[in-house]
């Protein structure tokens, strides 16, 4: 077992704790690297450049934790409908678990998340996909985006996708003439010559 308290219940506080740990560790390591380079005689700017990949990783991890935190905060105070809150909680779990699985090295490198926990998270990620599946369309309907804004044959609210795609095809400017001008200008002379 790693130091993290994450288990198969996917408690959001435990998941966030892992994000926070990862961010603090990466910031600490980047700061250590910069300090080490300065101590070895580099200027501050040279040191920053030579630690820049680590610095970006640290800032990225901090932002990732911040985004998860605002999602959790919204869940805890901003959703009064119980069914909606429950569904959104699953989506928040997916956000947190996917972020860990996608960046597993950064969570595991110091053993904070163990390989056993990582295996469990990989499996639970697939479970979450199945849990979200029945609500997928409802989740996107909730964005309340009118068809006029989406302007998509594929994403229409009524789902009449194929009719819309075919209609779009018929309106192609190339279909304004049965025989395109390019045939007369280039294709026919070429074919005659050959």
């Amino acid at each position: 077992r790693g130091s993290s308290s994450i288990d198969s219940r996917l408690d959001l506080t435990a998941l966030f704790d892992a994000y926070e740990h990862r961010a603090v560790r990466l910031i600490t390591e980047a700061a250590g690297r910069v300090q080490g380079l300065v101590t070895s005689g580099k200027t501050g700017q040279q040191a920053s450049n030579q630690a820049s990949v680590q610095l970006v990783a640290a800032a990225n991890a901090f932002c990732h934790a911040f985004v998860l935190k605002t999602f959790m905060d919204k869940l805890s105070v901003g959703v009064s409908d119980a069914a909606a809150r429950s569904a959104l909680n699953t989506l928040c779990q997916l956000y947190a678990v996917y972020g860990i699985v996608d960046n597993l090295g950064e969570f595991m490198i110091d053993g904070y998340v163990s390989s056993k926990q990582a295996t469990m998270l990989n499996q639970r990620l697939l479970d979450l996909l199945a849990e979200i599946r029945p609500n997928a369309v409802a989740f996107v309907d909730a964005f309340d985006t009118p068809d006029n804004v989406l302007k998509s044959a594929l994403g229409r609210f009524d789902g009449n996708v194929y009719e819309a795609i075919f209609e779009y095809a018929k309106n192609s400017k190339l279909n304004e003439k049965d025989v395109a001008d390019a045939y007369h200008k280039h294709m026919k002379p070429f074919m005659d010559e050959m």
Binding site: A31, V56, C63, L129, R133, A136, A138, V140, V161
Partner: protein
Amino acid sequence: VNPDLARERKRATFDPIQLTYVLYNGPERVRRKRYLQSLAINDPVIANSPDWHTLSREQKYEEVMRKTVYYTNRVQELGLTDPEEIFSYWEAGMAHENSAFGLHSSMFIPTIEKMGTEEQKQAWIPRSLSYEIIGTYAQTELGHGTFVRGLETTATYDPKSKEFVINSPTLTSTKFWPGALGKTSNYCIVMAQLLTQGQNCGIQAFIVPLRRLDNHQALPGVTVGDIGTKFGYESIDNGFLKLNHVRVPRMNMLMRYAKVLEDGTFIKPDNDKLVYGSMVFIRSVITNDAARSLGQACTIAIRYSAVRRQTEVSPKGEEAQVLDYQTQQHRVFPALATSYALWFAGRYMVDVYLRVTEQIEKGALEELPQLHGLSSGLKAFSSWAASRMLEECRMSCGGHGYSNASGFSKIYVDLTPACTYEGENMVMMLQSARFLLKCFAQAKSGAKLPGLVSCLNRPL
């Protein structure tokens, strides 16, 4: 309604309207949003607009100018003042087409409001609000981007005439990229190195007239034009600007914080970062844009995946909905979760921005570094994530995702510039990291850190 989609809606475990209320801050806001959207959608002046993808660059510029002028008038007629309501109204009629006066209202006017003295606000804000002046904000140069200290444009104070001489001394100092600079704007806020009494006093903001107000022709010493076609943003005349010793009065430097006295003496601002306030606002808004665009991409991918059927899961069975394939779920559901996550983060950031700017107005600058540091990183984080995932949504729709009929291309080319404008993302992340290092050093020396960065007090 397609029967597969109808069945999906019946099987959901919650009523989506409840989440819509959460996303838009309550039933009243949703009702109002829908009302304004229906007004825009059913407006005959806009309803029969041509298919965007069939228009040339020039036609797109003109079409958006037509819509912008029309909607600007309609917004005034309807008496809309709430930014969210105005956005809902505009979006319904010209989604991802970009207002021709977008930078005028989001950068030019707010910069004068935040960085101008009362006298300066009196001089320019009423004329800007009545569209006598249409302005933009020019910081980036041909050879210099996010590193503002490297900008070459100069503003040299002449105490004899009490004027600044604004100059582009090199080819690389040519202002390049600012939106609406090429053909639309007649005024501009130019960020330039202030030189006075033989000293370089750093980057300051100057109001520079570009074009005559009677016939829109470029003023003497001003070379201005459009930079050409781009990946997207085709309706926007991103421009270049060369200034050849253009003289502007002393009052044209925005002097609420930094000042140049008549004799050329420079008075420093309390905080250098105050100069970049307008960019911080836009960065805060970018997270919202990223969330909304990714949400739209998810809407397309998920609805289509519910309708599209492909290959039998069991031999001789019916073709399965693509959404039932685990690989498809693995592609689009994390994007869905991310769009919700960024939505809430974006809302939070705009709230923080409004709170902190209110404090700044009262002279309290303590939270400005935190806002600056966090908004940079979050802008990069959100635009990167949304661009990458939007592309994944597109590809999850197979060949039809490549057609302009899918709607993806219009959203994508509107979203992905956010990775480079208002600060290239890698530089933004490094800026954020520098802020975090400073906080970390404070934490190590025993300081108790406030708010968002308090986690750095945590022992490993």
